[in-house]
């Protein structure tokens, strides 16, 4: 049975002790778990970049700070608070394109994706959905329908969404999914909005990079 009528200091000290032990235990488990969690996160990101930039040999992480790209985070700013883009290189160290992430509210909830962009040709070269809670069977086709995803392999920016069979053959056209127009439109909007924000920096690379 729990004790009754204990003095106040007893109440506080018990909780404090329990809190201390609890904290200690959690820190121990955290130290064990953190490397694995980080490794997984990095692996997922690497796989996504690999997918949208067609398997680059390596990639650099660049930080967007005040309208310029930095190779290292500036002093005193936590890395995770910064916006990042990734620059992929092929085996001969030639840049193949940038991988950019973005997210906006879709039909059900926020859609997050990563896409590849080649400033040389001004084309979007790949797209992968990272997070989506769209309707299974309809909206989730933005990640499950291989044809829709393939639409983003080599399409001129800015993208224009068109309904199936209504396109005129423009290089920037993307066929939207029937029955999931809002989800499709959101994917296109995310890419267009991000490019509007970032292409002044990306197109003029390496001039925009601060070393």
């Amino acid at each position: 049975m729990t004790i009754r009528g204990a003095p106040a200091w007893r109440l506080v000290s018990t909780l404090a002790l329990a809190g201390g032990v609890a904290g200690l235990l959690i820190v121990v488990v955290f130290e064990w778990a953190e490397p694995q969690i980080e490794a997984h996160r990095a692996a997922v990101l690497a796989a996504a970049i690999d997918n949208v930039l067609a398997s680059p040999a390596r990639y650099d992480t660049l930080y967007v700070v005040d309208g310029t790209l930095h190779e290292t985070p500036p002093e005193g700013v936590l890395e995770r608070d910064l916006e990042r883009v990734f620059l992929g290189y092929d085996e001969s160290d030639v840049p193949v394109g940038f991988a950019v992430t973005g997210g906006e509210p879709g039909y059900q909830d926020i859609i997050r994706l990563i896409f590849g962009y080649d400033p040389g040709s001004g084309e979007v070269v790949g797209m992968e959905v990272l997070e989506s809670k769209e309707t299974p069977g309809l909206g989730d086709k933005i990640e499950k329908d291989a044809e829709f995803v393939a639409e983003f392999d080599g399409v001129q920016a800015p993208l224009v969404g068109v309904k199936q069979d209504a396109g005129q053959g423009d290089p920037g056209e993307v066929d939207m999914i029937t029955g999931a127009t809002i989800s499709s439109r959101t994917v296109i909007a995310i890419i267009n909005n991000r490019l509007e924000e970032l292409s002044p920096l990306l197109d003029t690379y390496p001039a925009t990079v601060k070393r």
Binding site: G19, V27, F30, L78, G106, Y107, Q108, D109, I182, T186
Partner: protein, 192 residues
Amino acid sequence: MSGDLFWILISAMVVNNFTLALFLGLCPFMGVSARVATALRMGGANIFVMVITSLTVWVLNTFVLTYAPYLRLISFIVVIASLVQIVEMTIKKLSPTLFRELGIFLPLITTNCAILGLAIFQTNRGYGFLEGLSFAIGAGLGLALALVLMASIRQQTELSDLPGLARGMGLVLIVAASLSMAFMGFAGLLSS
């Protein structure tokens, strides 16, 4: 920016309703929702606690927890429990009538997944001060809405001719299923 805030509020209230889409706050939903008046009071108490929690969580996240993210859960639950205790004592002192009407519900709110869920979602989505506030108001309104809807339906069904064993929780859940389906219709609201 204000468009974002409005989307957050509407999304939390109807599109991703805390009870009917995210399954938070089910204990009060099942137990309290037989009278509309009770449901309204519970909903009101919830909104109040949610807003205060949202502000406190924002303070915690911004100033304290950046250094020890793994202590997040413990700090949240301790804060929520203390907050409810403080709110209860404050209401008791300021307005004994209000306390008498609300009093029973406040401890229920502590172990209510909706409040902790609010804290966790707010943290995971990285909401700032205003966004967190929007989220809390929307979530609270949504919870209250679900409670009141369920209560009014249950009040009606008490007078109808149901088979004996269909009354009780089985019926409540089937009604909840219909409500949830109805709320799915809100998806796409505010989308371009």
